[in-house]
Amino acid sequence: MSSIPADLKYLESHEWARLESDGTVTVGISDHAQSALGDLVFVEVPTVGQTVSKGAATAVVESVKAASDVYSPVSGEIVAVNEALGGAPELVNQDPYGEGWLFKVKPSDTDELSQLLDAKAYEKVVEREAH
């Protein structure tokens, strides 16, 4: 069973989002997603300063057998990206909710956060996919 921290918000497409105290939103992919993809070999992060809209393909995670777009859970401006992933994409596999974060967005509309799934609802998504 994959881990689904209760304090995060999720997308059906397996991204997680965390509202930080400075008002930015950190984004990554869930434990379930990293395990389904297998060993990541490359992560393509966006550029700082880029504006993104909710649901837009913003990053790409690539394993040997698959490449997946990562969608931004909120609209806004990219304020940071995880540069460490350039040399160590395996961080996403090892620590998807911590060191393996992908990018931070400064949201233009914080209401969008409330439209995301909570941990319970996301758990159901994962369960449904298993069947």
């Binding site: 550029t47 057998k65 490449a67």
Partner: protein
């Protein structure tokens, strides 16, 4: 039955296992109204002996005229060993090396090929080939648009001295992607790209500039200046080169201060016969930073479970079978067999051999120009440094002259009058190392007779 091994007893036993009365019953899911009755437009079968006779007759009908055309496809000597090995069943009848463990021969060869092409072009990485030089340019333009993230224009500058068919193919293949091609004129006296024509684009958002070296007229472009202009104006540079010429010409990786970004071309001069235009292969090399934007197969060296080195397809996530509608290209085959030929060809010749072939081509072309321009009514159009082609102007219609030469067993060159009307009745000629002094003399003598 040709190529079908089944005996009657086999068929009976197999039908029984399947549980159907006849082979025809296996097609019972096809609606009856759609079933084909007979293929009347297909002739009856020929035996191998009969078909061999037919093809030999047709081949002899075409004969072997003495060839002086280049224009993107070049007649070179191909060592006997090349195709003797290429047509071994283990290379000829294998498929894409998806099962790496059962394809180490092809995979290692492709890795060696990538090494040779990267070194020859002066770049860091090579793919394992594309279809041909023209389609490789189209792929390079699409790649430049992906790789140059700061450029939003998809605007590409191409010289008028680029092989005109390459531009046509690039337009066809990129048609759905809204690329914009602008053609840079050439200096009518020199036959090379007009440097001042670039000034109009200074400060604009240009995605890439294409440079062909040697250019379509066989002339050497000032590649350093154009490369530096492009980089100074934040454009990428795509080089289109003849791989053989790189034995003596500066490799694109060293053009200008920084070298070009993408190199493409047709690999045909490296051990692939003319064969009416194909199969040839396109090559593509680039900088390591753009490797994920490169289309086509790429081979990497890795280790197996026991730590032993081996080769495998890598970076497959770029490709259509994984990325589907988001792939870098829809390409899935390469031209593996032709790359096999090129790799063996380059191994047999080595750097010194390639250099000698290239130098001899140049020398024979110079002799050809000398001999033909002595004929009345023939003059050389551009006299700058060249590789192994030259533009001649005739005092009468080129196609008439070519037709008369053909009747005398000589394929005299490529008629430029359609594509470059400003040059008048112009003819592009080429002599490779395969054209002897006697061949050149025969052409000159025949031309003099034809132009009397």
């Amino acid at each position: 039955m040709p190529f079908i091994p089944h005996t009657e007893a086999d068929v009976a036993a197999m039908l029984q296992t399947i549980g159907v009365p006849s082979i025809d019953a296996l097609f019972d899911e096809i609606p009856a109204a759609l079933r084909t009755r007979a293929l009347e437009g297909i002739p009856e079968a020929l035996s191998e002996m009969e078909v061999a006779r037919l093809l030999q007759e047709r081949a002899q009908q075409d004969g072997r005229p003495l060839n002086f055309i280049g224009a993107g496809a070049y007649e070179h000597h191909i060592p006997a060993a090349v195709w003797a090995i290429v047509t071994r069943g283990e290379f000829y009848s294998a498929y894409t090396p998806y099962q790496a463990e059962a394809s180490q021969g092809t995979l290692q060869l492709l890795y060696e090929y990538q090494t040779m092409m990267a070194s020859l072009t002066g770049m860091q990485v090579s793919n394992a080939s594309l279809y041909d030089g023209a389609s490789a340019l189209a792929e390079a333009c699409l790649m430049a648009v992906r790789a140059h993230r700061k450029s939003k224009s998809a605007h590409i500058l191409v010289p008028a001295t680029l092989n005109p068919t390459y531009l046509k193919v690039a337009r066809t293949i990129t048609e759905g992607q809204n690329l914009k091609f602008d053609v840079l004129p050439y200096e009518l006296k020199q036959g090379t790209t007009q440097r001042s024509s670039l000034d109009a684009y200074a400060g604009q958002d240009i995605t890439a500039v294409v440079i062909q070296q040697p250019n379509f007229f066989g002339l050497l472009e000032d590649v350093d200046a154009i490369t530096d202009w492009a980089h100074a104006n934040n454009a990428l540079v795509i080089a289109v080169v003849n791989p053989l010429s790189l034995a003596i010409l500066k490799p694109p990786g060293e053009w200008g201060a920084k070298g070009v970004d993408i190199v493409v071309g047709d690999g045909q001069p490296l051990g692939v016969p003319l064969s009416s235009g194909g199969p040839y292969f396109g090559f593509m090399t680039t900088r390591m930073e753009h490797v994920r934007q490169m289309p086509g197969r790429i081979i990497g060296r890795t280790v197996d479970l026991d730590g032993k080195p081996g080769f495998t397809l890598t970076l497959q996530a770029r490709e259509q079978h994984i990325r589907r509608s988001k792939a870098t290209s829809n390409i899935c085959t390469n031209q593996g067999l032709l790359v096999t030929a090129a790799t063996i060809y380059m191994s047999l010749l080595g750097a010194e051999g390639l250099e000698q072939v290239a130098a001899t081509c140049q020398q024979q072309t110079n002799k050809l120009v000398d001999a033909l321009t002595k004929v009345r009514g023939v003059r050389l159009v551009f006299d700058g440094p060249r590789f192994h082609e030259a533009v001649l102007q005739l005092d009468r219609k080129v196609d008439d002259v070519l037709e008369k030469l053909a009747r005398a067993g000589i394929v005299g060159g490529f008629d430029l009058s359609q594509q470059y009307p400003e040059l008048g009745q112009a003819l592009l000629v080429c002599a490779t190392e395969t054209r002897t002094d006697e061949d050149i003399k025969r052409y000159a003598t025949t031309l003099a007779e034809v132009m009397q």
